[in-house]
């Protein structure tokens, strides 16, 4: 079910949470838009399938990291919008730190420029 051009299955699973929280930290969104956003930002390298996205979204909602609400979109159709909660922001901050640690460690080994935490 995972349609990935570059990313291995484990990486997709591990990065789904910080990616979703980061997207929702910028503002509320819904499933279809999130997938498009991920595709756009990654330059098409990360391609999420719908079957994978919704279970993850619902898990984050259950864990209280994001909230959801049915709202009417501009098209007149009802859509389920997701937005980040305070707990979600805290988790995102911690995740960010961890990912940057990994990034900087690999970066040193690969002689890349470090990113400030």
């Amino acid at each position: 079910m995972y349609k990935t051009a570059m990313l291995a299955k484990d990486m997709v699973a591990a990065s789904a949470k910080p990616l979703l929280l980061s997207i929702l930290a910028e503002g509320e969104s819904y499933g279809y838009e999130i997938i498009q956003k991920v595709r756009e930002v990654s330059g098409g390298e990360i391609e999420w399938s719908d079957g994978m996205l919704y279970p993850v979204l619902h898990r984050l909602e259950r864990d209280g990291l994001i909230d959801a609400e049915w709202k009417e979109a501009d098209t007149g159709r009802q859509r389920k919008y997701y937005f980040i909660s305070d707990a979600g922001r805290k988790v995102l901050k911690a995740e960010r730190q961890q990912w940057l640690t990994v990034h900087n460690t690999l970066g040193k080994l690969w002689k890349l420029k470090p990113v400030s935490i």
């Binding site: 079910m1 819904y30 499933g31 279809y32 399938s49 719908d50 079957g51 994978m52 919704y54 279970p55 993850v56 619902h58 898990r59 259950r62 098209t75 159709r77 009802q78 859509r79 389920k80």
Partner: protein
């Protein structure tokens, strides 16, 4: 050129007369047939499908093409259901509970029958010498350390402590294999049992009937040999014990069948 490119699309649409609303309605019903998808999830997936269809139509695909492509992108209802089931947090506990019940069932049957198995194998070994004595010449027998009734062999092995150790061997072996990381191969070999509910129930019913036979055998032996001995409990009490011995395995089997993953889904197995 423009004429040619428009033509095939036109023909297709008039030929099939594709009804988008009906197609989406069909898809909804297919989704509704999946047990693990709540109405809210289905509604959300439907908006997703409609969004995808709209986008594809905007890109120039006709109604039918955009529906089928959108449907493919959203995923087969059955696969969607599996993905949702995988993300279900109670699933992991259901699985743990299932395995501990299976373990309890196995341990119960084994503990009940192992003493008998042990006694039976000792009897078999005790019978062996007389057979060998008949077959081999005396000068060979002289050098063979054969067990004799009442001898060291019988006294060593016909012993509650030793038979207790014997009944613990499978559990100790399992733990040793687990700690050495050799269990996965055995576990994957037994996994085929759990792939379909019917297969599992068949195997456990077979195990259970062996157990039942064993209990009957014990009861009959008791009624003919031990029940009349003064001081032994009366037969009625043994019958009560017999029934009590059945309650636990039957309950365990029922619970296991209840907890077992519904249906068989070869896609769900991870390669």
């Amino acid at each position: 050129m423009a004429d040619r490119s428009q033509h095939p699309g036109k023909i297709m649409e008039t030929q099939t007369r594709f009804d988008l609303t009906a197609a989406i309605e069909n898809w909804r019903q297919e989704l509704a047939a999946q047990p693990d998808l709540t109405p809210e999830v289905r509604r959300e997936l439907e908006t997703h499908l409609r969004d995808t269809v709209a986008e594809l139509q905007q890109r120039g695909l006709n109604k039918e093409e955009s529906f089928w492509l959108a449907r493919r992108r959203v995923g087969q209802p059955k696969q969607l259901c599996e993905e949702f089931a995988k993300a279900d947090p109670t699933k992991i506990w259901r699985e743990r509970m299932l395995w501990s019940l299976v373990g309890a069932f196995g341990v119960q049957l084994w503990l009940e029958t192992s003493t008998f198995v042990w006694e039976f194998s000792i009897q078999a070994i005790m019978v062996m010498p007389s057979t060998i004595e008949r077959l081999l010449p005396d000068w060979v027998l002289f050098y063979l350390p054969l067990p004799t009734l009442g001898g060291g062999f019988y006294r060593t092995f016909h012993n509650p402590l030793v038979s207790m150790f014997f009944s613990l061997v499978p559990m100790i072996l399992t733990v040793i294999l687990l700690s050495r990381g050799r269990m996965t191969r055995i576990a994957s070999a037994t996994r085929f049992l759990f792939e379909s509910r019917r297969r599992f129930l068949f195997v456990s019913a077979a195990l259970f009937s062996f157990y039942l036979l064993y209990l009957c055998f014990r009861l009959i032996r008791y009624s003919t040999m031990a029940a009349t001995v003064p001081g032994n409990p009366p037969l009625t009490e043994m019958v009560q014990r017999f029934i009590a011995g059945l309650v636990l395995p039957i309950t365990l089997l029922g619970l296991i069948a209840w907890l077992m993953p519904k249906g068989k889904s070869p896609n769900q197995r991870r390669a």
